[in-house]
């Protein structure tokens, strides 16, 4: 394409990404968003104004070199595009798919003011998928340093930290309590949003190139304690996430048919319950499902519910049923990625907004029958800056439901703190660690990701893993001793 001027660039419309048909996709677990073709990626890349002081980069939690990779992409130099990408982000195929771009890079893009942002996330995904298929930017291990590092937890924080330290020549052992690595990327986020092949591809590649040893089924705090790791390793990184579910304190939460989103999503994603009985783990989904919450976790749970209902209806005939989001604030406050919210709407999710459950009522067999709720209205802004929902007196009403899934946020699992004297914790159960270096209050122990911030995002966890790896490497080389 001939060189365009600013005006011409701004005339190009933002390109939609093709999606699987909204009716068809309701009945399968295959990826919804199909990705750009090379041609659309190139034209979309032409929209970027190559700002001298790119706002987009400042909006990205890890500062991805956005104009640089986009420039290489539109010049057709994919190898270069991947290189620019990887300066800051090891896992673009994942971030391109799951980052909440509208509040990060794209939300800050200069074009947002004048129309629509450059589709940075989609371009990033395009670059990431190219790298997955072609491996033009191989991971290389520096000469061995003889230093041993233990990385606890194999989610995005742990993986990023392990890869960066592995490249520096350190010997890395990862400990993961579940039977497979990946953290939320495999047990939480569903196949139709982030294909597991992408995650496994990235992990096995890193393991191969850097010789990382991943010990699954190892629960730190039970199989080994932190103290024991410190005796065996020169440094320890904790990336155990925030995996503990919370339940509402309302009557009826222990009825059959009430579960945490974690349980539901783990059954479906990690254990592949949507392929039961080919896979052994079952999941029970009713005809009327209420998912309580409005974040990514809630959207994932409700969209999995819809799909399971459709699969069930196909097998046994009958109507697929209904899947609801029950959320106490309004649509404007929904914290989920905008794209997921739209996809959920397209797929037929029913949104009961400004609605809060107060009781779950069971039948004589102890199974969920009715969800009692109240209507809410928005009052004054609260600490998070969002308007606080308050109950409308006398607004109680009931909805017939047979499944209630709680997606109310999570907190760090305390197991890793067992026998870990000196590892300080906040009132919320998160680990206290320095934001820049990841150093905790315990010598030779670093932490990052959801264990420090509470439930956050994939890219912020990766950023924390990367910053910690930098400091750990300096420490291991003797350049940054523990004060």
């Amino acid at each position: 394409m001939a060189e365009l001027n600013q005006k011409e660039r701004m005339k190009i419309k933002r390109h939609d990404m093709p999606n699987q048909d909204q009716v068809v996709r309701r009945g399968n677990f295959e990826e919804v968003a199909l990705g750009y073709t090379e041609e659309t990626a190139r034209i979309e890349a032409e929209r970027c104004l190559q700002c001298k002081e790119p706002k987009c980069t400042r909006g990205c939690p890890v500062g991805v070199m956005i104009p640089q990779f986009i420039k290489a992409l539109r010049e057709g130099d994919m190898v270069k595009a991947v290189e620019w990408m990887k300066v800051k982000n090891n896992l673009p195929a994942i971030c391109g798919r799951v980052c909440p771009q509208e509040v990060q890079c794209e939300g800050s893009c200069i074009l947002t003011k004048k129309g629509e942002a450059v589709a940075i996330g989609r371009l990033e995904r395009f670059v990431g998928d190219y790298e997955l298929a072609n491996r033009t930017c191989p991971l290389v291990k520096a000469p061995r340093t003889g230093k041993r590092v233990a990385v606890v937890g194999s989610g995005p924080a742990g993986l990023t930290c392990a890869v960066d330290l592995g490249r520096q020549g350190h010997e890395i052992t990862m400990f993961e309590s579940l039977h497979g690595p990946g953290g939320v990327l495999v047990y939480g986020i569903p196949e139709f949003r982030l294909p597991k092949g992408v995650v496994h591809g990235e992990i096995s590649y890193a393991v191969e190139c850097l010789g990382i040893d991943i010990k699954t089924d190892h629960i730190i705090g039970r199989s080994f304690t932190l103290e024991e790791l410190l005796a065996d390793y020169d440094a320890v990184f904790l990336g155990t996430g925030a995996g503990l579910p919370s339940f509402m304190r309302i009557p009826g939460i222990n009825l059959n048919g009430v579960m945490s989103a974690n349980e539901f999503l783990t059954r479906v994603n990690l254990m592949k319950a949507y392929k039961f009985p080919e896979f052994d783990t079952p999941v029970k989904i009713g005809k009327k499902v209420a998912v309580v919450g409005g974040g990514n976790v809630a959207m994932d749970a409700v969209r999995c519910s819809l799909r399971l209902q459709a699969l069930q209806a196909r097998q046994s005939g009958g109507e697929p049923g209904e899947a609801h989001i029950v959320y106490r604030r309004s649509a404007d406050e929904i914290p989920a990625r905008t794209e997921e919210y739209h996809h959920a709407r397209e797929e037929g999710v029913i949104f009961d907004l400004l609605t809060n459950p107060i009781e779950i009522i069971g039948d004589d067999k102890g199974r969920v029958k009715t969800l009692r709720c109240v209507k809410m209205e928005l009052g004054e802004p609260d600490a998070s800056g969002r308007r606080k929902p308050v109950t409308i007196p006398g607004s109680e009403f009931e909805m017939e439901m047979d499944t209630v899934i709680m997606a109310l946020g999570t907190s760090p699992n305390p197991l890793v703190f067992v026998d870990a004297d000196g590892l300080e914790r906040t009132r919320h159960g998160t680990a206290v660690a320095d934001n820049e270096t990841g150093r905790t209050k315990k010598q030779r122990v670093w932490a990052g990701g959801d264990i420090v911030t509470g439930a956050a995002t994939v890219i912020s966890a990766m950023g924390a893993g990367k910053r910690a790896a930098t400091d750990m490497n300096n420490f291991l080389k003797g350049e940054a001793p523990w004060a």
Binding site: H179, D217, I219, F224, I253, N254, M271, D280, G366
Partner: protein
């Protein structure tokens, strides 16, 4: 992969296995459990640590074949391996010298009660054990139990061995015997048995510890599927238990939650039987 190094058939439906899992054996204690997954398609099922050998890195499990996963596990032989084996999970049993204690084991619950009785005995308690099963064929470890108990009572539902009664009968007699002064009772077995043991000890106000067998997935506090209702709210059996005060447990809720996946368990079993038959037919045709 974790290799099965020894297998013992305790009854038609009860099997013992020693599995190589040094990372579990190094810390295992009585009262804790593991989670095993047989293969890439398998579910994660919890089993109690019946015994362990730290030096050899071995964990002993004993299981009753009640459904698809336990049947499939029962078919494996020494030299075979399972895909995942995680633990030790849950809190170990709180062992002290309490005085005179009663250990009740029902069915496959005899396996997990054994190490507890053994440690209680070693701590200086007078240990009375009661073991029961539906019939003689389902009983095992009588000799082992005898060796760690001051007194052993054996019963079967059908009277094919020992006393013809359920475990709560001798328990009530012992509790009613003023000379005995029972300070604590442990009960492990089917949920319904533990419910009745708790009901039997309640009037005597004897503290009663039960080991709950809720449905689990991760075993690390991450899913909440294992939650149980106590007097003062919900707990996660995998991390807060598995042992609880039997007088505080909402047994109706527990029993109904155990039933939740009944239909799916039946479908899994059917699909597995079908597959086994097909394989047998292919074998036979060779």
């Amino acid at each position: 992969m974790y290799t099965i190094v020894r297998k013992e058939v305790l009854s038609d439906v009860t099997k013992l296995m020693d599995i190589e899992a040094p990372h579990v054996a190094r810390k295992a204690r009585a009262g804790q459990f593991i989670i095993v997954r047989i293969d890439e398609h398998g579910e994660r099922i919890p089993l109690t640590i019946a015994d362990y050998n730290r030096d050899a890195g071995l964990i002993t499990i004993i299981f009753q074949e009640v459904g698809k996963s336990t049947k499939q596990l029962g078919k494996l032989e020494p030299g075979d391996a399972v895909a995942s084996f995680a633990g030790p999970l849950g809190h170990p049993t709180d062992i002290e010298n309490f005085g005179t204690v009663v250990c009740v084991g029902g069915g496959v619950g005899i396996a997990p009660i054994y190490p507890i009785a053994k440690e209680l005995k070693a701590a200086g308690n007078t240990v009375i054990s009661i073991v029961g099963a539906r019939n003689r064929d389902l009983l095992f470890w009588e000799e082992k139990m005898k060796a760690v108990s001051d007194e052993l009572i054996v019963c079967t539902d059908d009277g094919s061995y020992g006393r013809k009664t359920v475990v709560t009968e001798p328990l009530k007699e012992i509790l009613g015997d003023a000379r005995r002064k029972i300070s604590r009772v442990w009960a492990i077995g089917p949920a319904i048995m533990m419910k009745f043991v708790a009901a039997a000890t309640r009037p005597f106000q004897v503290p009663t510890t039960v080991s709950l067998n809720t449905i689990m997935i991760d075993g690390t506090g991450m899913c909440g599927g294992c939650r149980v209702l106590l007097d003062d709210g919900a707990r996660f059996v995998c991390v807060d238990g598995p042992e609880f005060d039997g007088h505080k447990v909402d047994w109706e809720n527990l029993l109904s939650r155990l039933q939740f996946y009944r239909e799916e368990e039946r479908i899994a079993m059917q699909a597995y039987d079908h597959k086994c038959k097909l394989e047998a037919a292919v074998e036979g045709g060779k």
